[in-house]
């Protein structure tokens, strides 16, 4: 029975997500859109199954919610900080800097989420991975102390992602 369910829903989270996205696209939660969303949510994971042979398992759902909230909060704070830098700091006083972040994360998906988060937080843009994927190159708009930026990213984001993915 469980096997049969697994055949029909190879990726239950994706099924759920696709259904939600379809209902949001239709923009009114009618039975119509729910049924069609479910159909898409069953067909698409079924067809794309060969493309994700070893997808990571999310281990810690409360941490996912905490991570999203932390990132949203940081985006607001960082926006204000960067606005202050742009408006009130003379360009000569600003110290743009490259920061190298040694990664403990190994899952490609986790590194992708980390890089995306760093870019979406104003003031830092993730630019490159090292050749074997052990380090992340980040450009900072104003970082007199690159070590502090590295520690903050490692502590606030990477630690949580490690609990979620690994």
């Amino acid at each position: 029975m469980i096997r049969l369910l697994h055949r029909i829903f190879p990726h239950p989270h994706l099924t759920f997500l696709l259904t939600i996205v379809w209902i949001l696209l239709a923009n009114k939660p009618s039975l119509n859109s729910v049924v069609f969303g479910l159909i898409l949510g069953i067909i698409i994971p079924f067809i794309t199954q060969p493309y994700w042979p070893d997808r990571p398992k999310l281990r810690n759902w409360p941490m996912v919610v905490e991570y999203i909230l932390v990132v949203l909060w940081d985006i607001v704070i960082a926006n204000i900080t960067v606005a202050r830098i742009i408006l009130f700091k003379r360009d000569a006083d600003r110290q743009p800097n490259w920061v190298c972040i040694p990664l403990e994360l190994r899952t490609p998906e986790a590194i992708t989420v980390l890089a995306g988060t760093i870019t979406m937080t104003p003031g830092t843009v993730s630019c490159d991975l090292s050749a074997q994927g052990h380090n992340l190159l980040v450009h900072c708009l104003d970082a007199p102390d690159p070590g502090a930026v590295r520690d903050q990213i490692k502590h606030r984001y990477e630690r949580r992602l490690k609990e979620i993915f690994e």
Binding site: I75, L87, D91, W98, G123, L137
Partner: protein
């Protein structure tokens, strides 16, 4: 009550306007290309986020129906904006940065963009 709602919506619109403007001003003021890259990431987060919040508030509080299209816009922006930024950043590293200008890449020795250049098949466009 309607006044408070309108005030709230206007507040979000003004916030987004301010941050969009500051982001655009940053594009002019910041001098080096890598710093300029920071300005658009600002405009896509709080700038767009403010408009979307205002839009949700307007449909719920004034028009009295729930519209969550806006959440999808946020989702797609958060998926696509980092990719654009990464493309521009990699282009910059490829054309303008030498391996010795960047911080040490640790045990991997080279950053991925430079590591690709060592493959002989890749044509050398840097002189054109």
């Amino acid at each position: 009550m309607g006044f408070i709602f309108e005030f709230l919506i206007a507040f979000f619109l003004v916030i987004s306007g301010i941050f969009g403007l500051v982001g655009s001003y940053g594009m002019i003021k910041l001098k080096d290309p890598m710093s300029r890259l920071h300005a658009p990431t600002k405009a896509t987060t709080l700038g767009v986020g403010g408009v979307l919040l205002a839009s949700i508030c307007h449909s719920v509080l004034i028009e009295h129906h729930l519209s969550l299209h806006e959440l999808l816009i946020t989702l797609f922006l958060f998926l696509t904006a980092p990719i654009t930024a990464l493309f521009i950043a990699k282009w910059h590293i490829h054309r303008h940065e030498k391996p010795e200008d960047l911080p040490d890449a640790g045990e991997d020795e080279l950053w991925a963009t430079h590591a690709v250049e060592q493959v002989e098949d890749v044509p050398d466009h840097s002189k054109t």
